[in-house]
């Protein structure tokens, strides 16, 4: 089996930089991380300097995702040797227990961290993840709400909560979480677009109009967001088709929908995806 460096003709610096990029993007491409990281650690650990510890952590978590307990344990042991009393490493120990489905032991680990340091957010979030893994969505939602009362600025937590609510079909509460995120991240087109999707799913004329406005806002923030463009088309079309709207509202929305359809067609033409641009001509879109 050829090594990563042979297959892709890369040196150890490129591999290290790739791992850093994946850390910064928070991508969950665990198989790739394991492939690149394992080789980097075994062949070039001495060259990595202090970076090696964060790489051990990153590779360990990816290894858990890929059921590579051997690799995970190796990384964990190196980290334990270097940072014997660290809560951060204790959390990794807990995560390994979670991966082995030893949830009671994992919870004990996290409880021990929290006794020592009640403000340790990582341990609290892992406990909530365990509830989610066990299918206890109701409890996970309760705990996450309590957590957010204390740590109101934790955006990752607000986003997780919005997803939990969406999975429970509680779209009103999911919208509330996304509103929090939009307030603190007014330039993030993804939050706008997701909020619009939730409103659309909730249904009803008022929510459809809100959804159209937020799809438009998402487009203003990023005019290449295809979901926002499609969403604008769909919401405007539905509003125009509603028997409850005035003639003016109907006319305006037909205009918006037509504009969106035009933009969609242009986007497809530019994308060389010929097959699909032909389909659009025959779809009820235009």
């Amino acid at each position: 089996m050829a090594s990563v460096s042979e297959l892709y003709d890369v040196g150890w610096e490129e591999m290290r930089d790739k791992l850093r990029k994946w850390r910064e993007d928070n991508s969950r491409n665990s198989e790739q991380i394991v492939d690149v990281g394992e080789e980097l650690i075994s062949d070039h650990a001495s060259k990595l300097g202090d970076d090696v510890w964060i790489i051990y952590e990153q590779v360990m978590i990816a290894a858990l995702d890929c059921s590579r307990d051997d690799l995970a344990l190796t990384c964990l042991q190196e980290l334990r040797k270097q940072f014997p009393d660290s809560h951060r490493v204790k959390r990794l120990t807990g995560m390994r227990l979670e991966a082995l489905e030893r949830y009671d032991e994992a919870n004990k680990h996290y409880d021990a961290i929290l006794e020592d340091d009640p403000t340790n957010t990582a341990a609290r979030k892992r406990k909530i993840s365990i509830l989610k893994a066990q299918g206890k969505n109701g409890e996970a939602i309760r705990e996450l709400n309590e957590y957010l009362e204390q740590f109101v600025g934790d955006q990752e937590a607000w986003h997780e909560l919005s997803e939990l609510y969406i999975n429970e079909h509680d779209y009103g509460k999911a919208a509330f979480c996304l509103e929090e995120l939009m307030m603190t991240n007014p330039h993030n087109h993804l939050y706008c677009e997701q909020y619009a999707e939730v409103k659309y799913t909730q249904g009803g004329l008022e929510n459809l109009e809100l959804s159209r406005k937020y799809f438009s806002q998402a487009l203003r923030l990023n005019n290449r967001n295809m979901r926002a463009l499609f969403g604008l088309y769909m919401s405007a079309s539905h509003i125009a088709a509603s028997p409850k709207v005035s003639a003016k509202v109907k006319k305006d929305n037909i205009k918006y929908a037509a504009w969106a359809a035009n933009q969609i067609n242009r986007a497809y033409k530019v994308s060389i995806c010929k097959q699909h641009s032909d389909i659009l001509k025959t779809t009820s879109f235009t």
């Binding site: 893994a133 999707e197 799913t201 969403g231």
Partner: protein, 204 residues
């Protein structure tokens, strides 16, 4: 009319599941439109020749699902296909029951195809060797979705499906599988998956 899966349909479903192990995934099952109206349609299986992977992650939002259904429906009409079913693999390993999303989408499909089926992937039995079929098929009877025993007869050719799926999983072909979400991220991504389809054909 029970559904039957071709190797291409089965393997793309599993590739989609394998590509996003930490997410729920879903997609549509595609059958060829039958030309003759059979008098007694019962007992003749509906052959699902292909599937279109739809989304990964959050499945319970409406707008992109509606877009996908519309576009794929048009594509089907142009190719004499029909949307005949829906597949889903849940987020958690031990959870393989159809949920509200599955039932809603399947109900929508049933409006155009009365024998629509739900195919759930049993994540806990997903292996690279594919030694046994890991799908659970649900039919709509008397207002309820009931699961039916999956046998070799649920496949056009089980041993071919097994061989191809296993080979593509080992070769990590799922890294190149395109779902509708990928298409929305970059329109150049082709959700008909011509590359994977060719790999399947080459292995037949």
């Amino acid at each position: 009319m029970p559904i039957q899966l071709t190797s291409q349909a089965y393997c793309k479903m599993l590739l989609h599941t394998a590509k996003y192990p930490h997410c729920a995934v879903n997609g549509l099952l595609i059958a060829e439109k039958s030309k003759e109206k059979k008098k007694d349609g019962h007992g003749v299986p509906v052959l699902c020749v292909d599937c279109v992977p739809l989304f990964h992650g959050t499945l319970a939002l409406a707008p992109m699902l509606e877009v996908a259904l519309t576009l794929i429906d048009t594509w089907c009409k142009e190719n004499n296909y029909i949307i005949a079913g829906y597949y889903q693999a849940n987020e958690r390993k031990k959870d393989s029951k159809p949920n509200q999303v599955a039932e809603k989408v399947a109900a929508r499909i049933t409006e155009n195809f009365s024998e629509a089926a739900i195919v759930m992937v049993d994540n806990s039995r997903l292996t690279v060797s594919c030694s046994e079929p890991i799908v659970v098929i649900y039919d709509h009877h008397e207002n309820k979705w009931r699961n039916r025993e999956v046998t070799m007869g649920s496949f056009e050719d089980w041993s071919e499906a097994q061989k191809i799926t296993s080979a593509l999983l080992v070769g990590r072909s799922y890294e190149n599988l395109i779902d509708f979400d990928n298409h929305l991220d970059d329109l150049r991504n082709d959700w008909t998956n011509p590359v994977i389809n060719k790999s399947v054909l080459d292995l037949c």
